[in-house]
Symmetry: C2
Subunit: 77 residues, 2 copies
């Protein structure tokens, strides 16, 4: 079983990396680029699909995301 997990900063949390990318895109001549937010994506393979989503959620809570400032989404495939 494969899963993709997105970890993104919560709304309202400052994202200096995203702002730097915004500035760099403007400097390269890309106009009309609004907010850019950067996050992380994890592609994980689970040997055993039983309780997969619950286990992935626990992984996010314990290790992959800092839930004070980050949100996570789990996509199973």
């Amino acid at each position: 079983m494969k899963a993709r997990i997105f970890v993104t900063l919560k709304d309202g949390v400052l994202d200096p990396q995203g702002q730097a990318i915004e500035g760099a895109l403007a400097a390269l001549g890309f106009d009309g680029v609004g907010a850019v937010r950067q996050g992380k994506v994890f592609d994980i393979e689970l040997a055993d699909p039983v309780d997969g989503e619950a286990r992935l959620k626990a992984m996010c809570e314990k290790l992959l995301a800092n839930t004070v400032i980050e949100d996570y989404e789990i996509e199973l495939s």
Copy 2:
């Protein structure tokens, strides 16, 4: 127009960060976790949807991805 861009390491490119996460998950007691690969995700807002996909592709080629070792996917919403 909103877009989400995924930038992930190509297959065969070593991912030490992913391996560290794999080790940490095992140390936390999560069994049966196979390969973990880490990548980046960018959420971008474009003011003007005209030619959006082509412009996003150009942004990936020029700034967001290192196409020697990374692949990118564009998801429009």
